[in-house]
């Protein structure tokens, strides 16, 4: 099942992993070390982050390095900007209605 980006970033450990990955690509082993976690626990987090496209694996020799996928968060920010614009438009419409209502009351 496709992972929900909200579920992915709601977890503090996954947020920490993400912020670390913005600086450098890491292998699962190094992540486990840095966060003092078992490989299984790290794998679970990686799976969730990967499924919602927040990170991307890249094979380098025998190791897999995970990169932060900036594009995914930009997409999200784009959606937010669109939503903000919708609200702005609606509120401007309401301004006009309120002004008409005020005049009718007078």
């Amino acid at each position: 099942m496709k992972q929900d980006i909200f579920q992915a970033i709601a977890d503090p450990t996954r947020r920490a992993i993400l912020s670390l990955l913005t600086v450098q690509a890491l292998t699962p082993n190094v992540m486990a070390e840095k966060f003092d976690m078992s490989r299984q626990a790290v794998s679970k987090h990686i799976k969730i982050l990967h499924e919602c496209d927040l990170i991307k694996p890249e094979q380098s020799g025998r190791e897999i390095y995970y990169h932060f996928n900036e594009k995914k968060l930009q997409e999200f920010d784009h959606w937010l900007a669109q939503l903000r614009q919708n609200w702005k438009t609606q509120f401007n419409q309401l301004d006009k209605i309120l002004s008409t209502m005020k005049n009718q009351k007078k």
Binding site: D4, F6, I9, W79, Q82, N86, T89, F91, L94, D95
Partner: protein, 167 residues
Amino acid sequence: MNKDLLFDFTADKAAKTIYITREFDAELSLVWDAFTKQEIIDQWTAPSPMRCKTKYMNFKVGGKRFYAMVSPDGQERWVLQEYTSITPKINFKMYNAFADKDGNPELPGSEWDYTFSEQSGKTTVRITIYNESFDRMERMIEMGFMGAYTIMLETLDNLLTTLSQKL
């Protein structure tokens, strides 16, 4: 127009919450009516050229509003809202979910909280929207997919005003 009215929109991704604050140049009772009376809500809650069509609305705790956003080509997106708490002229809360045309909600939905306050003739409305799922939020935005088109129309409006003044 209304450049001096506060508008703030922030999203806390980790908390899955959107915060919206807007000031209106009107007394509280008018603004409260604009947010809680069907005949007024329908006039402004769809970003033009989308329009709002309410099938029924019962503004009381446990009551529901069932409405559709209608696009210019006639496509309908139905939404079912249930009022969970009402403190007249101060606050109301509702649970918002997409629905099919027969009013069957598609869960999970989102929790909306509206708070109203008045100061020297201006009314501030604070809206908090909590979304359990990101996919749902994507759809919420998709629903206002005409946003970009709206800006174009606004620009055209302004242009027409300017042109007509020159005549």
